[in-house]
Symmetry: C3
Subunit: 317 residues, 3 copies
């Protein structure tokens, strides 16, 4: 771990690989700092360039707009030099291994590598080989910790407390690292989590994480404070998992009728990108009284600023 | 519209979507500021970073080198954080709508979105959904306002006045947003515009814009002050529109012989990228006594700096 | 050549196109400055932003991760505005010539163009048409001067002197601009160069460069101080040049047994990306007592910083 620049500041972790490894005090410090940046981003030009002289590299092996852009903006707002590596045109194509690519960027004195990879565990493996900090921006079906952190802060800013809330996570839980990270984080913070999905889209053993499971969305939404929809990978929808997108929307898409079962002030969330009319009714997605989908994006940049700061100069205790 | 930082500065418009909506005083203010930057860019390192802390995002749904690079350089020269979204690998591919992509970038507190899209009107539609400023970097066959502004300033710097000039716009007018924006802008500034093209490449109703139409290039060039060639999309050249590139060059390509019909000091312009030997003779393109093609590129960066400044902090009155 | 900003500083060359054209004093000045940056990069945040206000554009017609990233990091560390043009989606695809693309970027007041191109001589041709500085980041099978400079500095930092060293360059010399630039540079600096390769991978006339040629790797490595492995383009390995990757590794891959013929403290180098198990044994590549492969990457950024500085503001004498 690198020396602290200031004795009042603290590095919480050498890497940010999963929600699982974060303690509650660490989460609190991170979310407080992120909350500060969420406000600061609304008044441009006043942000201290705490990462000036630092090098942040994004290395994405899956396409992404929002997560990659969010991280790059976060890095730039804090004054870091930011470089994006497009893995589809990278040396990986010339036969280089993932680890060699990472060690090459490490040797260039990157301070932080932000990595997305289709294989669960690949980012952790990589983090063990480099001496710069690594952020997991999504690894296979394992974790996507910054998404869960931004979801938690979005809930906190709207509902004050996460403890005691009933949160429903709905849709393609089987393939979703977002679901997994959110279950782990929101449980840790005291929420009661329900999973709503067709039996084919529920991973085995998920009940060991302490969640309630519903196959019937109407029932699952009763008394919910938060309805968190997941993105349905439409390319997987043919055949095996779900009969058709139309059928899926009928039973597991969020519409006005089903939403009535939730609390009157229940909030709608979605990590994006949305398939309108498949997992969510278009007018609900756009209803700013209920949907906090754009707030999630906004707070995402702030959360990533806090994470970058945590891993380089440290965050004020 | 955002609050002005300084009472002496003025925001002209919330967006820059078309030449059509610009008033003559607004055009004058923009071109004056751009003229200042055109000179400043020749003496590096003295440009005030008026966009420091601002976020500029380019979102291009068609490939582009010169326009995208020109905007990115303009943003960086003014100190903005600049991020480019490659739409071909973006969330759009995952089924997200154009508007959702734009609103996502908006939620990240972009100050300016610079958008190119193959559909006419798409950029305007998008601008109605976001609260950041939007610049149209080309939408279908509709408009490309910064190209027309840079063309106008290039003419002004070489000919002093635009008023009263005879300007010939030659080639694939049918598919050209550049032609459309130039006709609107240069007419507004008092030039007389002629269109020179084969009948198949002239859009219906173009005469309503007050232009003269020529199918014969020799005749059309008589007494011209400016010969503005358009890029011919060679992929459209087979069959329907023009018989062959060789045939096309013979009748509508700019060569030494045809140019003799224009005024002795007539200037040659081209928005690029050029098809040498198809729409223009190579030696004419390179003749710096007549061709101002590189000046157009140079002034393009300056015009975009003025546009970015207009839409964020405002321009001095 | 541009005016010097400071009389104590000197521009060595208007461009950096090849090792061939560099004099020994010029190489010394460059490597001294690069050595300074190699140390400075280990203590972040203290680097003078000598390129502030400068524009550096990378224009790569072949894919690259390490070289492109290395140049971009070098530019950003010195405070330049850096823009990357992806040539596969550029105007070249619309029929524009290489020279027109370069002149367009030149007209935007780029200070330095960094160009990689599959054709030998293309970068020199381009440099003759623009008035900004040009760096050859690899042209066909001709030269890759910054790679040779970083290899030289890596050797110098580990062996103190290059003069008198026995350096073996092993593998696909035929297709390697890295080999060519290294032979030229390291010979100039007083090393004795040996080429080790199968007869099919040795270019005709290479002996005119004053190198010794070995087809037997065991013999070629005897008494060597440096074993510089080359990347084998596996796509060329079928048929004509080498029988199979397995066969190749047996005879020309660096393994523990063959390495024993070299000096006990011989260093292993590789320009990357590596094909582990084809041109080099994996455990040797990772043996930090022998392998300086990561140092090469690290020093690469420093060398490129020195080159960028040389071509813009000049280097202290």
């Amino acid at each position: 771990m690198k020396p602290l620049k200031d004795s009042k500041r603290t590095l919480l972790k050498p890497h940010l690989l999963s929600v699982e490894e974060l303690s509650i005090p660490e989460i609190d410090i991170l979310l407080n700092k992120a909350n500060f940046y969420a406000d600061a981003n609304r008044q441009k030009g006043k942000i201290e360039k705490t990462l000036k002289g630092s090098t942040v590299i994004t290395l994405f092996f899956e396409t992404s707009t929002r997560t990659k852009t969010s991280f790059e903006l976060a890095a730039k707002r804090l004054g870091a030099d930011s470089i994006g590596i497009n893995a589809s045109t990278s040396a990986i194509k010339k036969g280089e291994t993932l680890i060699d690519t990472a060690m090459t960027l490490n040797a260039m004195h990157a301070d932080i590598l932000i990595v997305r990879h289709p294989d669960s565990g690949a980012v952790k493996l990589l983090s063990e080989k480099v001496n710069c900090a690594v952020i997991n921006a999504g690894d296979g079906t394992h974790e996507h910790p910054t998404q869960a952190l931004l979801d938690a802060l979005t809930i906190k800013r709207n509902k004050k407390n996460i403890k005691g809330l009933n949160i429903a996570i709905c849709g393609d839980v089987l393939h979703s690292r977002v679901a997994r990270s959110n279950i782990l984080l929101l449980s840790k913070l005291g929420a009661r989590i329900r999973i709503i999905a067709p039996p084919t889209l529920i991973p085995k053993g998920i009940e060991n994480l302490g969640v309630e499971i519903f196959n019937n969305m109407e029932k699952g939404l009763i008394n919910c404070d938060i309805v968190m929809m997941l993105r349905l990978q439409t390319e997987r929808m043919k055949g095996l998992y779900v009969p058709s997108t139309r059928e899926y929307f009928k039973f597991y898409g969020l519409d006005h009728k089903k939403l009535k079962n939730a609390k009157k002030d229940a909030l709608i969330m979605h990590p994006g990108p949305m398939n309108r009319g498949i997992e969510i009714d278009s007018s609900l997605a756009d209803n700013l009284d209920r949907s906090v989908i754009h707030q999630q994006v906004e707070i995402g940049v702030a959360v990533r600023m806090a994470c970058l700061e945590m891993l380089t100069v440290g965050i004020d205790k």
